[in-house]
């Protein structure tokens, strides 16, 4: 199997790990608080007290970063034919080769991601751990970290451009573009999930 196709595995593992750890973090805090208080504490109340304000601008950029992450992954792995079973350029070549093909593809993926995010946002307050819009309200973020998370937006933009380049030269290949696209994607993913992993790591220490 191609290396590029295989590289999706660690990314998906990182994402899955982040999701699990995030839920685990909050669950652990909840259990500890209840054990300390020797009474039942609702998650809603706990989350309300745990909330750390991050600011509207940061939240907007973080949300944009997550949507761009999904679009960047779709561009890198599903735009040109690889060993993966699905490929936009092979399944719908008529649209992919059209003047609006690339933009339509990215916007379609973004729309799907946004729909999922908005759907999760409709969950009750007791399930705030699943809301991506409030992901960072449970973690302390320094200004530097916020800046880094915000910078994932242009980084992912460059990754998308590299993937688009691969699409325009297909069936030609460019290892450099693949590496850059993957590196920026992985770096951005790392920055976006870093607070979760750090929190889990600190607890273990």
């Amino acid at each position: 199997m191609e290396l590029l196709a295989l590289s999706i595995v660690p990314l998906m593992a990182t994402l899955a790990g982040a999701a699990i750890l995030h839920i685990n973090n909050l669950s652990r805090v909840h259990n500890l608080v209840e054990s300390m208080k020797h009474c039942t504490v609702t998650k809603k109340d706990l989350y309300k007290e745990m909330t750390i304000p991050q600011g509207s601008n940061f939240c907007a950029l973080a949300l944009t970063g997550w949507v761009m992450l999904v679009v960047a992954m779709a561009y890198l792995y599903l735009l040109v034919p690889t060993d993966l079973p699905v490929s936009y350029m092979m399944q719908i070549p008529d649209i992919a080769s059209g003047w609006y093909g690339f933009g339509a593809y990215g916007l379609f993926v973004a729309a799907l991601a946004i729909l999922v995010i908005l759907g999760l946002d409709k969950l009750p307050e007791s399930h705030r751990e699943f809301k991506l819009t409030e992901l960072y309200s449970f973690y302390s973020l320094s200004k530097r970290k916020k800046t880094a998370i915000a910078l994932t937006v242009p980084a992912l933009g460059v990754s998308i451009i590299c993937s688009a380049y691969l699409g325009t030269i297909y069936p030609g290949r460019s290892s450099l573009a693949e590496v850059i696209g993957f590196a920026l994607l992985a770096l951005s993913l790392g920055l976006l999930v870093e607070p979760i992993y750090r929190e889990s790591w600190e607890v273990r220490k």
């Binding site: 304000p53 944009t64 070549p93 946004i114």
Partner: protein, 516 residues
Amino acid sequence: MIKVYLAALVLVFAAIFSVQVVLCQTDGGQGASLDVPPPSPSTASSGGGGHRQIDFDKILKALQEGKQRKPDKFDELKKLLYIEPFVTKDYDKNLSLGLSVSGNKTKTRNDKFIIIASVANPNPPEVRRVLFLSLEVLEPGEKEFRKVNSLPVMILNNEYQENDRGQNISSRIFPELTSFGNLMTVGPAVLRLYVTDGQYNWQYPLKGSEDFILNIINRPPSLENITLQTPEPRPRFKDPIIYMANVTDEDSDLVNVTLHILDEQGQEKRNATQQIKGSGPIAFKANEYGFFGEDDAGKNFTYYYSIDDGINVSNTKNQTGQIGPCIRRGPKLYVDRLDFTAESGSHYWWQRYTFSLRVKNLNPEKYDVGFTLYTNTKSNPLTYVDSKTVTVGAESQVIYFNQTRPFMVTDANETFSYRINYSEYDQRGMDSIEDIGVSINPKIVPYAIFSPVIVANLMAMFLLILGTGLFIERIFKRGIEAQESSSNASARRKQGSSKSRGGNFRKIFAWLKRRG
């Protein structure tokens, strides 16, 4: 008969004497001796033993004396001894015979029927004899009768039934003759029945009587829906010209249908024959039979059919509408140098291609000829590209299909071929010419990464995603709500309510974080 009578008498008297001997032996047998002394040859003693020989003279004398002295007893004896002979002088030879056929007596050659022979026998069962039946037929056109059944059909003595009129009737069928399908003639078929019991012979019908006749007829075939199919009212000589008709033959005979093509003088130019069994459609394709050639251009033809089922022959000369085809005159093209050029040597699917063909008319006249261009790939077989009509004369000219876009993205990485059809025939007798092209470049996206199209796509996408993120945050205000929520919590803490779960809770949480 007299011998039988005397033999019977002898047997009886022998029995009587035997009985008398036994009785005498038992009566006179004081001492119960069973030894029977043989009688003396000349004495018929009833009281002694011994071997007695039958003396026919004495029997005869006794019978004569008995006839004279006791005629009643003699008659009675005669009755007891009388045996009816099997054949007596009362055997009735007057059998009544009959022949019948299922349905009426007019039959087609393929009609199925059953021949029934019936016999009325006046004799009682004990007198009857086995009867043997044979059927013979004289078919139309034949001079001698032939036997229908190779083995005679039998009627046994007990195979009769009494009908309403008290007659003893029996009947037999002849499965060997159920139709006249093998006949190739029509006319009367004569049937005769022969019956014999080994001694007497009977015949039906009787000699001199009216024959039993089946009238064999034939239903001749017919043709309907006679049509001539051409791709245009005035076709070219090589165009698909089809003569069609429907044959009907109710007798399901093997019918020969012959198509006769006549020229303008009414002379038969060509004919062709097809066979069909029974009813059904027939079609004569002119190209298959080579009815028309280049020399026939500009001529008008007519046609008719003749049909023959082996018995009846008829034709459709008198029917109207059997006109055509009218072969039109046209050019005789000479084509060569079929070629193409692409916008660039990369042969991308989105590029423009120019196709060309050199053509001229081998005849001196000028004609308008239609040319149509097709391309062919595995993904898009025989795709129409362009067409044009060109006046073709004796001078060569090149026909161009300029700057066409014949391919789609699905043709990428496939080898294409291209074909030009024309409305006349060329020097090879064909109406198209074809050639194989090259492999189309597998590149799918026609734009470079920094082309305005791609840049605009990506920029629009980025801006829309960013704008959507800002818009969602503006709507949901997660960052602001979190701030407000946090502010409220701080305000409560400042109130210093120790009973508030929130205050203690916050401390615990902070403590936990420090521990983390």
